[in-house]
């Protein structure tokens, strides 16, 4: 009845059910094929089943009933860039290891979409192989963070750490400046744009730069430390703290970083600090590794020692001279 009344509906339904995606490599991303793609046992399957569409920015839809084809843009959320995937830590997996086998059929069924997606803890938790990373504690921290509590858990691990591209940043970037920039990019993807934040909350959210104007030389500060160094609760037992605190709980005291007991040694430089406590004869010398010089937290031991030694020697000489003056009582000096 409805179908007779609305022939357009029939056409649409037929069209949707007859969609068939075909691989067309013409707009293939220019990323080089990584070693991972050559090594992965599942690269072929992944390519045939999934990446044929999801691995292309522009893919071709074929309507097998009407014999029509159409080029479509893959939406960002559903796009997986193969080169980057095969360079990630999860390169050796089949897509269907994590995604439901129901996704193998196209169009994808609604049941497939309702299947819960895995979180980091589902694979990495309680596994002795990953014990050192303490995923359980990271998960517990995440569940206390505002990302979890303010969104009922909708901001999942994946919002910051895309499992398709995940690489331990610190290892990949040697912990240098690039590490800080890329770590902050994760936060800035949402927090630098009021319109994006408006999608998440109705509250009037201030974006990053205006909110940090109280910091002297704000841009330099934001380049030299990670957002999470001030915005997460410090935790010694995990390498990167994950309990993102409400904005008003963030670190605001200058001396929290600018002092010999700088919190940066327990946050940004924790890994380096564990590796080498001391470097280049500087207090908190590991900070100098990424061209940072933190006044109050860095101090050259050599300059300090030499400076204080000369000051001390000057005072000793002056004291000895004074004693001589008292003992010898030079004639010219008249004592009042």
């Amino acid at each position: 009845m409805i179908l007779r009344k609305y022939p357009v509906c029939l056409t649409i339904i037929l069209f949707v059910f007859s969609l068939q995606a075909n691989a067309q490599a013409e707009y293939q991303d220019s990323l080089p094929v990584s070693k991972g793609a050559e090594l992965s046992l599942y690269a072929g399957d992944n390519e045939t089943n999934c990446l044929v569409c999801h691995g292309k920015l522009i893919y071709t839809l074929t309507d097998t009933v009407m014999g029509m084809t159409r080029k479509q843009l893959m939406s960002g959320q559903n796009l997986v860039i193969p080169g980057m995937f095969y360079n990630s830590v999860h390169w050796s997996f089949s897509c269907l290891d994590c995604h439901s086998a129901e996704f193998k059929t196209f169009p994808h069924s609604i049941e497939a979409r309702f299947e819960p997606s895995w979180g980091c803890i589902d694979c990495h938790g309680y596994d002795p192989n990953y014990e050192q990373y303490r995923f359980e504690e990271i998960d517990a921290e995440y569940q206390k963070s505002v990302h979890y509590t303010a969104t009922d858990g909708l901001i999942t691990c994946w919002k910051c750490h895309d499992p398709h591209y995940y690489n331990p940043l610190a290892r990949q970037t040697q912990g240098g400046r690039e590490y800080i920039i890329r770590s902050n990019e994760m936060c800035l993807r949402c927090h630098s744009n009021a319109d994006v934040m408006g999608l998440i909350t109705d509250e009037n959210v201030e974006i990053v730069l205006p909110k940090h104007e109280w910091l002297p030389d704000v841009e330099r500060h934001l380049e030299a430390v990670r957002c999470i160094d001030c915005h997460t609760r410090m935790n010694d037992s995990v390498l990167v703290a994950h309990e993102v605190m409400p904005a008003d709980s963030a670190v605001r005291g200058c001396a929290d970083c600018h002092s010999q007991n700088s919190i940066l040694m327990g946050t940004l430089y924790k890994y380096a600090a564990k590796e080498r406590r001391d470097e280049k004869g500087f207090v908190n010398g590991v900070m100098l590794r990424n061209d940072s010089y933190v006044i109050g937290a860095n101090r050259s031991k050599l300059i300090s020692f030499t400076g204080l030694l000369i000051i001390g020697m000057t005072l000793v000489i002056a004291l000895m001279h004074t004693i001589f003056r008292i003992v010898v009582k030079p004639k010219e000096q008249v004592h009042e």
């Binding site: 002092s259 100098l288 109050g296 000051i311 000057t314 004639k331 010219e332």
Partner: protein
């Protein structure tokens, strides 16, 4: 026999006072930043130290500029002109006097006169501090206030790092100078006479 004469004009005394007060603030706040520790009651709070240091640094630059103009356009400047010929000998003479002759009751080799304000050691150290250390501190200090102008990399090191190290070294030199300056000032006719003359302007000669 002492002879009193007007030695320090008012502008020199005022400049010297401003210089002394500002340097003291800069040294205390500079050390507070270098040895920043929120739990140590001896150091000024970091944030306060930064603000005071910046304000005093700017004021000292202004007072230094006035001093430069004063030296250019008054006779005070000639006290800072070092005659290189025989300098080593004169320095040795003055050094020997401080270490030995002074105790033996010898006459000062270069007594203060209305024509000669500084003995050779004073002259060399004052020129070093006023014309080398302080300008160096101003350049590095202002650069640290506007770090966007500092070279990102210089000889493989971070520009800010090198600038700050130079600032700290020069700062230490000024502190060392200050202690020597204060002590040597007690070696006038009486231990207090030089302090009195930089306040009143009148110098009692040996």
């Amino acid at each position: 026999m002492s002879k009193n004469f007007y030695h320090y004009p008012a502008w020199v005394r005022l400049w010297h006072l401003a210089n002394a007060v500002l340097c003291l603030f800069l040294i205390v706040t500079g050390f507070s930043m270098l040895y920043s520790d929120p739990d140590n009651g001896l150091v000024v709070k970091f944030q306060r130290a930064v603000s005071i240091h910046n304000v005093c640094g700017v004021l000292l630059t202004i007072s230094y500029t006035l001093f430069l103009f004063g030296n250019l356009f008054t006779s005070n400047g000639k006290n800072y002109l070092i005659v290189m010929k025989g300098l080593g000998k004169r320095l040795w003479k003055q050094g020997r006097y401080y270490a030995y002759g002074f105790f033996k009751g010898e006459d000062a080799p270069f007594p203060v006169t209305s024509e000669r304000k500084f003995n050779p050691l004073q002259q060399v150290s004052y020129v070093g501090v006023m014309y080398l250390a302080l300008p160096g501190l101003f350049i590095t200090g202002w650069a640290l206030m506007f770090p966007e102008f500092i070279l990102k990399k210089f000889l493989g090191f971070s520009g800010i790092f090198l600038t700050d190290q130079l600032h700290v070294i020069l700062g230490f030199l000024v502190v060392i100078f200050l202690f020597i300056h204060l002590y040597v000032s007690t070696m006038g006719r009486t231990p207090m006479s030089n302090f009195r003359s930089i306040i009143t302007g009148w110098q009692e000669s040996h």
